[in-house]
Symmetry: C2
Subunit: 103 residues, 2 copies
């Protein structure tokens, strides 16, 4: 299994509409990706590791697929629609990571 | 539920022993944290979001707890033992994020 993590960097002027992201954006993504999407999860940044430190990421979305190919085949036809929704909930530019789920 | 994400930045000279991390480090962490730890997961970075781009993080470990307080109470007594094991599997310095699991 692989995980696509979409990580929105935190900063003093970063904003993020977590309700829109969970209820509208991720719902749309799940519908568009269909059966290829094996699971998903949204994290809202609370804090960093040291006392008083901000979370490095204001929010993260994680999407699980059987393989990189499965993700690419499901995502490519809808990439433009999904990406163009980003300004509706944040002024940040996400970092994307594809990971192998080891454990 | 909250998630503690321990994210190891990638770079050209970063190294990471994923087998030691999964089989020795995370096993030790799970034993030390006991019942407070509600779940865990290890991701190995494969790629970034653009073609040919490296993963931002060479690896990530995610630990799930009922609350920030539960994490802090379980982690504090063992922090030094856990942190001192890091050089045994990587030359990188992790970024830590505490998140609320929204979905």
């Amino acid at each position: 299994m692989i995980k696509v993590s979409v990580m929105y960097p935190n900063s003093s002027d970063a904003n993020f509409d977590i309700d829109y992201y969970c209820n509208t954006h991720m719902t749309m993504v799940a519908e568009l990706l269909g059966d290829a999407l094996k699971g998903s999860n949204v994290d809202r940044g609370l804090a960093g590791g040291a006392p008083g430190e901000n979370a490095p990421f204001i929010a993260m979305g994680h999407l699980i697929f059987d393989s990189v190919e499965s993700f690419q085949n499901a995502f490519a036809p809808h990439a433009e629609k999904i990406m163009s929704d980003i300004p509706n909930y944040t002024n940040t530019k996400p970092q994307v990571q594809i990971s192998e789920i080891k454990v």
